[in-house]
Structure formats: structure tokens, C-alpha cells
């Protein structure tokens, strides 16, 4: 009895360690939204938030084009305007929910609708290392200059990305799908005035 107990109790620290190591995979903020606005919109611009409260028609168009139904009835565009009121850049935070948790990408659009920047802003504790591996492989730079209708699959074909390994490549695919979703939302919902 004593020996059996001894063996059992000697293993006692294991579940305690597992309790901390295998905790849920909460969302982690990789880059703050504020930082995305500061980094990607011209310095000195006045900032505005344009909120689109979705109506039936736009929800239907989003479902048809992007093949998903938004969770949030409000879509927000963050605008940087110069002193004359001209829009220099527009930021949209697009999100995709996966079984591993959400991935959010901050997309900055130039006035012509092309992407000037794409930054992953949100992942989870579990997906963060995979996301960072994809980001460090130069994935996000490949989206710069892309416009609505562009093929977001092209950056995934780069050998730096194809060689990432299974899960980082999967996250790269999720990021690409999120960028595509953002391009569609911008195209469907953003109007100059």
C-alpha cells in the first residue's frame, strides 16, 4: 500500500504542471489597433471612424461574395484625413474565426483601394507561434498593393511560406482568407463619402 501510494504521490506534480501548461487558448493581441492606426496612417492626419450598421441588402451581398455572415452588425472603417478633408488611408480590422480561435488582420487601404499594409493584430496563445512563423516568412508583405479581386493565394505559393510546416501554413491560409474577406468588405461597404 505504502509503495503504491508513494508512486502515486511522486507523480502528483505532473497534473499541477499540466494545469498551467494546458490552459485555454485565450486571444492574444499581437499588435494593438491603436498602433496599427499610428503606424500605417500618415502622421498628422485627423482620425475618424466610419460605422456601417449593416442592412439586409449588404448582409446578403457579403454572404454571396465572402461566403460568411458577419457576427457583428457594425463594420468600422478608420479614416485618416488630411487638413483639406481628403482621405489618405482607411483601416479595416477583418477577422476570421477558426476552431483554434480568431485571427484578426489590420488592413490599411490607400485611396485607390489597394492595400498599403496588412498586419496580424490578433491570434490566440495556441496559434501565436504559428502566426508569427508565417509573418516572419514575409507573408504579410506579399499582400501590399493587392486590390479587390486579387488572388490572395499567390503569397501562399512562395517557397518561404510553403516550407513553413503544417500548422504555420494553415495559419497562413487563414490569414490570406481574412485578407480576402477584408478586401471584399472594403469593396462592398466603403464609400468615399
Amino acid at each position: 500500500m505504502s509503495n503504491r501510494l508513494h508512486r502515486s504521490l511522486a507523480l502528483a506534480a505532473l497534473p499541477a504542471m499540466l494545469l498551467t501548461a494546458a490552459h485555454p487558448t485565450p486571444v492574444v493581441e499581437l499588435v494593438k489597433k491603436v498602433e496599427v492606426l499610428r503606424q500605417t496612417l500618415p502622421e498628422g492626419d485627423k482620425l475618424f471612424v466610419r460605422t456601417i450598421q449593416l442592412g439586409k441588402d449588404d448582409v446578403t451581398r457579403i454572404e454571396q461574395e465572402a461566403h460568411y455572415t458577419p457576427d457583428d452588425p457594425d463594420v468600422r472603417f478608420y479614416l485618416g484625413k488630411d487638413g483639406g478633408g481628403a482621405v489618405n488611408g482607411v483601416v479595416l480590422f477583418a477577422q476570421t474565426n477558426t476552431k483554434h480561435g480568431p485571427v484578426e488582420v489590420g488592413l490599411t487601404f490607400r485611396p485607390d483601394g489597394a492595400l498599403s499594409s496588412a498586419i496580424v493584430t490578433k491570434a490566440t496563445v495556441e496559434t501565436k507561434p504559428w502566426v508569427l512563423k508565417a509573418v516572419r516568412a514575409g507573408l504579410m508583405r506579399e499582400f501590399e498593393g493587392m486590390q479587390y479581386g486579387g488572388d490572395v493565394g499567390v503569397p501562399l505559393m512562395r517557397h518561404e511560406v510553403t516550407d513553413l510546416g503544417h500548422m504555420p501554413h494553415y495559419m497562413a491560409e487563414v490569414i490570406a482568407a481574412t485578407v480576402e474577406r477584408g478586401l471584399i468588405l472594403h469593396h462592398l461597404l466603403y464609400r468615399e463619402s
Binding site: L5, H6, S8, P26, V49, T51
Partner: protein, 186 residues
Amino acid sequence: MGLYDLRRADSSVKLGAILFLLVLGYAYVFAFLMVKTWAGLTPEAVQATYVPAPRLEAEGLPDASVTTTEPLDLRDIGQERHTVDRSLLIQDSHIHIMIFSIVAALQTLIILGLGWPAWWRHTVIVTAFACGALDFAGQWLMQFGLGGFAFLTIVSGWGMVAVYLVVLFGTARAVLARPSAVETLS
């Protein structure tokens, strides 16, 4: 099979028991900080984490979207609340309920040697197992939209802490008892 007596057990058994509880307490400190950071400690905060936002139903919307543009104060872009959706809760449940049961089983092994009366032993053992199960029962009920069950998750969480403290106190008492005192007591 008779119960054993931790007070008379080999010093290695005592060492294993007390170290298990101390390391478990160490883990619980971080579990507390985790919960405080990601879910909150009040029923309102716990509900906001686990009760899903209502799904967007096109039927309730106007035909056309409504656009408003306002000046932005960067301070208004705060940190977003962490939420747990169904898939994340499945992921959490599959590991946590198992670990909670293993921890309760190991606590039970210790409890068996503490010389407690059967009614108290059974109460603490049942509470140890129940708290882990009810913690996630509360989370699932909230996931199904029953926000009032936040109290169940909160009470179960504190219940696990209470069981831990009771077992730690009983174990420390048994391990640290001097042999002469043990003999007198027994």
C-alpha cells in the same frame, strides 16, 4: 481495503503529498490570475465572457445599411474583451475536466490518509470532484444563453480553492504532527 494513515506513513509519502499540494497551490495562483485577466471575477464579467452575442439575423435588419462618420479619439479603441465561443469551450472542456478529475483523485488519495470521519471525508471528496464538473457545467449553460449560471462557475471555482485549503490544512497537520502527539490522538 482499509484506509492508510498519513501521520504514520513513510516520510517519502508525506513529502510527496505536501509537495503535490504546494505545487498545486502554485498552479492555482496562476489559474486565479488567468481567470481574473481573461474572464473576470464578477457574474457580469463572467457572463460577458461565456454568453454568446446574439447572432446577426438579417430578418431584423433594415433593407439598407446606415453609415455614420465621427471623429475618433484613440482612447476609445480600448482592449477588447476576451470571449469564449463554443469551439473554444469544447477545447477548454476536453482538457480541463480531465485535469480537474485527476487533481480531485490525487486529493482523494491524500484525504484517505487524514483520519477524518467518514461523513467529512465523503463531503470533501464529493466537493472536490463536483466543483470541477460544475465549473464547466456553468460555462456550458452560459454558452447556451443562460447567463444566470455565471454564479455556478464562480462558486465552483472558489469551491476548488476551499477544498484545496481544507486538504492542505489537514495534510500539514498530519505531516507536521509529532509522533508522541499522534500516538496520544490515536
